[in-house]
Each structure stands twice: as C-alpha cells, then as structure tokens.
Subunit: 537 residues, 2 copies
C-alpha cells in the first residue's frame, strides 16, 4: 500500500487543489454513498379527485400513514379502529396501566411512576428512513438505543458451568482462535492454491493484529489480547496493582458452547448501530401520528365484513362490547391495515387470489416481559449501560434500559423476549403471571441480584391479543413467490397495508413503507379512473 | 450442546426452585462478574492531622481529585493553576472563545451559539469508574458517545479508487473471507492435527453462520451476506423494488487495502460500547470538580520552583503576565499535577531518581480540528448518526456528533484528530488556520459535501500549549520498568499526580485514579508521621 507523503508542502498543495473539487462533489452520487434505502423522499400527493373518500381499517402505523398522506392529498378520510387507542402493535405499557388478554387474565402495571415497557417495537435502525422521516416530521424525539454492549453477556446454562460470559471476551476469543487456526493453515501452505506468498504475508500480518496473536501466531493470555477482551487487573493509577492479562476461554469449550452463535445479532443490519428509540416509550410514535389523524379515528369499532360493489366499499363493524349492533360505513376506497391473522377470519369481497393470499400467511408467536427492580444493579454492580444479553434459555434476551443511565430508584428491564421459537410457544401457553415468574427464575441465573431486587413485572403475549392474534406475518420464500404481489396489489377498491405487506416483517418500517406505497398506487388509480370517467363525460 | 427442555412443567418447576437461589446469589462474586476495574470504592479519608496543609500545583483532574479528597479529609488545601480556568486538558472550545497558542497565533471560534469542540478528551469508556464516579457525585450529566457506527466509513485514498467503504461492508467481508478460507483449510484436513472430526463439523457450521457463507462454504454475493453488509436494494414495502444483494469487495483488494486494520479500534476495550460524554462538552467535568474546589484555586499562577525542606514545601510562582514578581507559598505537603513536559523544565527539590524519572518521559504530539458545517449532511445525506470514520490520510479521524441528532442548522464535527504519528507532527508544524484548511481538503475526499457546506473551523495543537507542551506521557515498557514506581512514590513531602502517573495514559481515568491513589498514600504518610511525632512528644 502506498502511503500519503506527509510533508507540509504536500499538505499545502492539497489545500490549494480546489480545481478537482467539483469532480469530488459529484463523485458521491456515483460512489453510491447516498442513503442505503428504497425510501427516497416524502410523498407529495395532491389533487385528489373531488369528493373522493377513503375508509381506513385499523389505526396501526400502516393505516395512519395512509390516512395522513391521503388526507393531505385531499381525500375525505376516516379510520375505524378495534381498540381504544391508536398505534396497534406500536404500544407502551406505562405505570398504572391495566390490560386484559384473550384468556381473560388482567394484569395491572404497578411500576414506579414514569417507568414503562414496550411490549412490541422497541428499537429503530438507522436505515429505517420511513420511521425516521415521520418521527422528525411529527416531532417525536429519539434517543440512541444500544444493542451491542461489549460488557453485556452471552450465556448458556450448559456452557462454562452456566457462568455468563462478557461479549467482549467471547468476541475477542472468536477472532483470536479463528485467526490462529487460519494462520496455522496459511503457514502450512494449505491455502497456496488461493493465496500468493505476498497475500499470505499480508494475511498473517493482519491476523496477528485482528486476532491479537502473540509469539508464533498464537492466541493466548497476553496484554495484547486483554486490550480487547478485558484484563484480569485493569490498568489503573499510581501504585495501584499493575495491569495483568486475562485468560482466554478454552477453545474447544467455546466452539461447542453455542455462545459464538449468540453473537450473530450484533452484526445484523437490523441491529447495527446507530439505533434509536423514542424518549418515553415507543408509543410516542403512535402519538405523533395520532396528533395528525386522531380526529378522524373512531375507536372500539371492530370490522366484521368488507363489501365491495362497483363504485364503493361498505364496511360492517361493531362495538366489541355490543356485538349485536352492526353499523356500516361506505367510501369510494378502502385501505385495510388489519393483520392477516384477524382479516382471514373476516368476510371480505375480493378476488380468489387475494383471499388465498390473506389466508396463506401464518403468524408468529411472541411474548415480552418487563421486570422492575429496586435499583439498576446491572449498572451499579456490573457496569452494563444499555445493550442486550443473549442466552439460550427460553427468555432469550435481557435488555437493559438505554435511557436514564446512572439514575437511582426502581428501573425496568426487558426480562424475556421470545419470538418464533419453541420457547415462545411455551411462554405463550403460560399466564402473564407465570411468564413473569419464569423470567425471574431464568434471569437470576445470569443476574443473581434478581432474587433480592425484583419488585414486579408485566408480560404481554401477542397470541393472546384479540386485534393481532399473533406477532407478525411469517413469510417464507415460497409464500412470497405465491402470494406477495397479489397481497399488495389493489383489489378493485381495496388495498392492504401493514408490516405483512412488506419485505421488512416485524418492523414498523415495513408498515410505514407499505402504507406509503399503497397510498401512492391508490392515488394513481383513483386519479386515473377520474380522468377516464372525465374523458367519457 | 444440550438443549433446555421447554415444557411448561419444566418452566413451572424452575420457578419453584427457590432452594438454590441463595447459592446463585453468591455465585456472582465467585464468577468475577463484579466491576472489571481496580477502582473499588470512593475514598473515605478522615482525621487529617490537625492543621496540616497541602499545596496542589495544577488544577487538572488529577490535582482537583486530590484537592477535593484531601480537603474532605480535613486538610487545608489550596491550588495554584497556570491558566485562567480549571480542568487543564479537560477543556471545551465554545462558540465565541478566543485562544492564542505558543506561536502567537490567535484563533477565534465563530461557531453558531451553543456549538463546541473538545480539543482534548471527548469520550469515556464504561470501565472508567473513577470518571463515572465523580460525574455522578458532582451531577455531571452524561449521554452516550458512539464510537462504532456500522454506517460510518473506513477509507484510504489508495484503496478502492479512494471510495470510502462502509464499516458494515468491510467488517462483514473480513468475517466472510476469513471464514471461507478457514472452511477451505478445514475441509482439506489441514487442521486435523488440532481438531477432531466433531470439532471440524462444529467449526464449519459456525463459520457458515458467522461468515454468511452460502453454497459450498463460499463467501459471495447473497441475501445472507447482505443481511450483515447491507443490500443493493434494501427490503421495502408493498410493490417497491424487491431486496437485492450487494456485491462483496474483492478479497485481494481488501487484503492489501489497509482497511481491515482500520477496524481495530472498534474492538478495543478503550473504545467499546458503552461510552459516554458530558452533555455540552467535556469541560462539564472540569466544572463539576470546580464546583467543589473552585474556591481554593488561584488562577494565573505559574509555578517556577518547588523547594522542599525538612518540614515543609515552598513553591515559587509568577503571574505569566508579570514574570518579574515572584511569589511564594508554603505548605506541609505538595501534590504536583504539572505535566512532566513542563515540570522537567522547573527546578524541583527531589531525589535524583525522581528527577531522572521526571526528565525521562517524552510527550506525545496531538492536534484536533473542529469544523462547522451549514447542516448535518452526514446524517441527512449519508445516514451517519454519531460514530467515527477512520482513514489513513493525515486527518486520521472524522467523528460525527453523538448529540442533537436530526437537528437542523449548523453543526460541528471533529474533522481531524492526529495523535502520535507522522501526520501529527506535520499537522503540529502548521498554523491553526492551515490545519483547518488541511482538514477540509482531506475530509472532502470522504465527504464531498464539505466543499459546499463548510463554514469555519478551529484547531488546537497540544504541542503549542504552554501548560502542557505536548499531549500525554509516552511510556514504553522499558521506561515503566526504570521509572514508573519512582515517579509515583512520595518524595519526602512531594507526590505527583496526573495521567503520566498511571497505566492509563491519555485518559482522564488515569489522572483521576492517580489522584485518588496519591491522596490515599499521602494521607497515610501524614497520619503515620503525626502518630510517630505524637509518640515522641
Ligand atoms: C414483539 C414485537 C417486537 C417488535 N419489535 C420491533 C422493533 O424493535 N422495531 C420495529 O420497528 N418494529 C418492531 N415490531 C414490529 C412492529 O410493531 C410492527 O411491524 C408494526 O407496528 C405493525 O404495524 P401495522 O400497521 O402493520 O399493524 P398494527 O400495528 O397491528 O395495526 C393494525 C391495527 O388494526 C387494528 N385492528 C385489528 N383488527 C381490527 C378489526 N377487526 N377492525 C378494526 N381494526 C382492527 C388493530 O387494533 C391495530 O390498531 C415488533 C413487533 C412485535 C410484536
Ligand atoms: C487530544 C487528547 C485527547 C484525549 N482524549 C481523551 C478521551 O477521549 N477520554 C479521556 O478520558 N481522556 C482523554 N485524554 C486525556 C485526558 O485529557 C488527560 O489524561 C487528563 O485530562 C489529564 O489530566 P491531568 O490532571 O493529568 O493533567 P492536566 O489536565 O494537563 O492538568 C495539569 C494542570 O497543570 C497546570 N499547569 C501546567 N504547568 C503549570 C505550572 N507551571 N504551574 C501551575 N500549573 C501548571 C495546567 O494548566 C493544567 O491545568 C485526551 C487528551 C488529549 C490531549
């Protein structure tokens, strides 16, 4: 690699080189450094056909996005919503809240005032432009969410005698041992088919740095490795104990521990820094939208039938508390944001292909359990500020609050987050109280302080929620192939929105982008039809 | 690996198992999950010998820590400080500030009101317990600092045609190609000496996941790899374009690019999440300390000589603006916080070994350049929210503000941060204005928007600062061996504090822990002497 010449003259010449600047400026576009997203710009629709009306079913983010944009374009919009609040899955359980699930179990959240847990969405990646766009537009203040905390743990009760291992230790050891093995193979010329001697030299040099290898390319106890994995005695001041290296984990034990695999999520674009969350709970986003469209939402309106005729859509709905009084409402167009798990049980007038698509997608299971403790022992005793601990126990996740760091008094962590695995169904089969107890029982294997510090908990199961009957649409490649385009297309006067109509399932971005896309296409169709009709008149 | 049995009965049994809980609780201590630091607890000294006095030289964090703790213990303490403000290197240049360096160049910071740059310390790791302890104690509010942002860049003008590469792409490709090579070697039985067939199977399985390998253990363009490195077309909603995979970088080009090495700092304990910074600039920490000891600091007092006699220390000092008026002040004890670069030029009464130690440690060079732009183009155009971009150009670092995300209006980024390398000396040799121009000229190779959006900049060189004459003490293993213990020991009535008296050079934690340690030992000596003398009377 050539090095930059570092003379002063070189620097000063550099500064003078303004001639090339224009070229540089335009380079960015060709480099593709612009936003890594399909989201390009905000919708700017206008000129809705005179007097056209749209009925939106469901005040989730997918529905409210469509309602907001269509109203802005000039449509007459109203929203029918099953529950008594906007946002659907974008929800926060606050101190003082009470909720009852499908089984009839009522939980009361007795957290200290101000404390809360997000039973659904809780983190926003930097590349979810739709979400970030509307947060900014609607004044929803975001703060950093921390996913990767090197000082959090990965854990298995079957590995390392059940002792939780710091992420920094496991990650450094994975890098170290794989680098050592690769260096051995390189040294033994096993890779000569692929690498020139020059390549081998460069590779060995970088493996030494990357893997913190010492001596003859060995990953072993050393200050160099400790700089990455952490020390036994950490560097300190004055005549305090001198720094001493920590002992790497045993390679074979690590290899068979399952802990390596628990690191994966830290590197997935969905969980990569920077991430965000709204200050005060995810529901802030729902409120941001409701500030715009709240005036056109009718709550406690459970849709029971969607009729389509030539020139309009008529929707039947009831108040879930008075199931016998069926009401109807009609409009020119209908945007349906109802999860497929629920929609598939409603009579809908649509093409056979659309009805098949609606019926085809199974829904995932998920539970989340929030636990309140007397103090932030994870910060105070273990120096864990935000971030996620992964375990292969059924609780899967412990996530530490990424807000109000260093504060005293009771605090809430996410004590269990099961999603689409065996543990998730087992957890869903339990009552909320049992799930809280299970989260504590498992969690204390990682944080023994649970025993003494636990105050109370609440637990939410998405399968026990009447307006979702599950967590999210479980697409497979085969299902996409067979049904996705149909599901997203406009069926006469009906179009669907929601995370299920996206390639980003179980993310708010999916719901919002689908809402934007459906809106745009509906507007195109409505204006095209108007034009045609105008031409005929 | 055994799997947890996931029956409901198992879960309920688990919950009942409170018998073992006590054992679990005590397990934490033996597991060593307590804080990874030598810092254990706050100092709680008391009963200073009646009427004992201490003179502290320098109001850096090392000096103020000692002053605070000694006064609390009952000593009569006063501080002489060269400059006109507390904190030393812990400093923030705010909008409106003016400063003049040793060369006589005056810079005026014309940033928009509220904007600032930290010319010295700017980030605090989670394991710097001393810093975090005093921040909490003195009410200094901290917010997350972001080091690793997967969407920031690593860059070399000599690699990939000078196109900056996203961290997520390079990191995923490094994992991918090393996994592929290691899988090849494993498949060819090159590692059979070290791995059993069972090990090989487990390794291959995990390499597939970790390296995002597809097909026959190949790292190649795929959705699986794109989930980590990012997509060409990102997953979206409705009938927007379908997700399409991105193309990995060429392995050989990557291997020889130098970019792999630029990833290293993201994994070093010194820069691992969680990190923090004070809201409003690092100087908030200096202010926190000054709220406690500000009343005993005399500013514009440049120490020029330290005399020791049997029973006291006498310090000569001047007002730098009136060098002819030499004043003196005496005390029983002296805590000297003056950087060795300056102290080595002052006449000090101390043992020959101590004087040798003081003279032996060279000081590193460092410059930092803050640039203000009309808007947060890095957020708005490139979706970079906080974090650090590394380049092998002389500017080395571009760091994006980790506060006030999404805000409009002018914002400041760290446009160059050179420390102890060739670039650093070259940059130090330039005037501040030249350094600002250089930072812009280099930086626009990464962010072409510089050209259009740049407003103004300020640059600080630590070699041009009269009260440090350098950046930090450059220890080597040999120097530590020869001088460290001497430098930290109490020399008659004099003890040194500061980052140079620590194993954490160039970190505030080093200064603070050294201050705590020196204080403790001084107090021990003072009380022991008092006791002895008492015994004699
Ligand atoms: C456990 C969990 C974790 C998640 N984590 C994240 C995360 O970290 N980040 C992220 O971005 N996303 C996350 N998500 C996904 C996110 O919550 C969803 O993708 C998004 O909120 C879905 O919005 P939607 O508009 O598609 O549906 P919903 O929000 O479900 O809206 C549908 C609406 O329709 C209403 N409705 C239902 N039936 C009827 C009816 N018969 N009549 C009238 N109205 C009806 C419902 O009450 C609801 O208001 C998570 C989801 C879950 C469940
Ligand atoms: C560029 C740079 C980046 C850094 N980044 C970080 C970081 O991100 N995080 C972190 O924790 N740390 C960082 N540090 C290190 C941190 O700033 C220092 O370790 C710490 O502030 C040093 O404190 P101190 O008390 O040892 O010395 P100082 O802060 O230098 O205090 C010494 C004091 O002595 C005074 N003095 C000097 N001469 C005399 C004299 N003759 N008479 C009287 N008084 C005198 C000075 O004015 C000064 O106030 C950084 C430092 C630099 C320079």
């Amino acid at each position: 690699m050539k090095k930059s010449p570092l003379t002063r003259r070189y620097l000063l010449t550099m500064i003078g080189k303004t001639a090339g600047a224009g070229a540089l400026y335009s380079a960015m576009t060709s480099w593709g450094l612009a936003r890594p997203s399909t989201f390009t710009d905000e919708l700017d629709l206008s000129a809705a056909p005179n007097g056209s009306s749209v009925l939106v079913l469901g005040a989730g983010l997918g529905g409210m996005t469509a309602a907001y944009e269509l109203r802005k374009a000039g449509y007459e919009v109203s929203i029918l919503e099953y529950s008594e609040r906007p946002g659907g899955r974008c929800y926060t359980i606050h101190s003082g809240d009470t909720f009852t699930d499908l089984s009839g179990e009522t939980q009361h959240c007795t957290f200290a005032p101000g404390n809360y847990i997000n039973p659904g969405p809780w983190r926003i990646p930097y590349h979810h432009y739709g979400v970030l766009h509307y947060c900014k537009k609607f004044g929803v203040k975001l703060e950093p969410f921390i996913q990767l905390n090197y000082n959090a743990y990965v854990h298995s009760p079957h590995a390392f005698d059940g002792k939780p291992q710091r992420v920094r230790e496991v990650l450094t050891d994975v890098h170290g041992y794989t680098a050592e093995l690769l260096a051995k193979a390189t040294d033994q010329n096993a890779l000569d088919e692929y690498l020139t001697p020059e390549d081998c030299e460069a590779l060995l040099e970088q493996l030494d740095d990357w893997g913190r290898l010492t001596g003859d390319h060995k990953y072993q106890k050393s200050i160099k490795a400790s700089e990455f994995r952490g020390f036994k005695d950490w560097p300190a001041g004055g005549l305090m104990p001198k720094p001493s290296p920590s002992e790497p984990l045993d390679f074979k034990e690590l290899l068979h521990s399952g802990l390596w695999g628990l690191l994966l999520d830290y590197f997935n674009t969905e969980y990569q820094h920077a991430m965000f969350e709204p200050h005060g709970g995810m529901e802030q986003i729902a409120r941001g939208f409701a500030n715009q469209v709240g005036d056109i939402i009718d709550y406690r309106c459970q849709v029971t039938r969607i009729e389509q005729s030539d020139d309009k859509v008529t929707v039947h709905y009831i108040d879930p508390d008075k199931p016998d009084e069926v009401k109807t409402r009609s409009a020119d167009w209908c945007v349906c944001n109802i999860p497929l798990s629920v929609l598939s049980q409603i009579q809908v007038d649509a093409s056979p292909a659309m009805l098949q698509a609606i019926a085809a997608i199974p829904y995932g299971s998920s539970t989340k359990t929030g636990l309140e403790f007397k103090r932030r022992f994870w910060e105070q005793d273990e120096s864990i500020f935000g971030g996620v601990t992964y375990t292969d126990m059924p609780i899967k996740v412990i996530s530490y609050p990424a807000y109000d760091y260093f504060s005293d008094g009771p605090a809430v962590l996410l004590g269990a987050y099961t999603i689409e695995d065996a543990g998730s169904y087992t957890m869903s089969a339990m009552t909320g109280r049992e799930r809280v107890a299970a989260a504590v029982a498992y969690g204390k294997q990682i944080h023994p302080q649970y025993e003494k510090e636990f105050i109370s908990g609440v637990s939410w199961s998405w399968h026990r929620c009447p307006w979702t009957l599950g967590c999210y649409g479980l697409w497979t490649d085969e299902l996409r192939e067979a049904h996705y385009d149909t599901l997203c297309s406009i069926d006469h006067r009906l179009v669907l929105t929601g995370e299920h109509c996206s390639y980003i399932p179980a993310w708010m971005e999916g719901a919002i982008l689908s809402g934007m896309d459906a809106t745009k296409r509906l507007h195109e169709k409505a204006t095209a039809m108007k034009r045609e009709r105008g031409d005929h008149e």
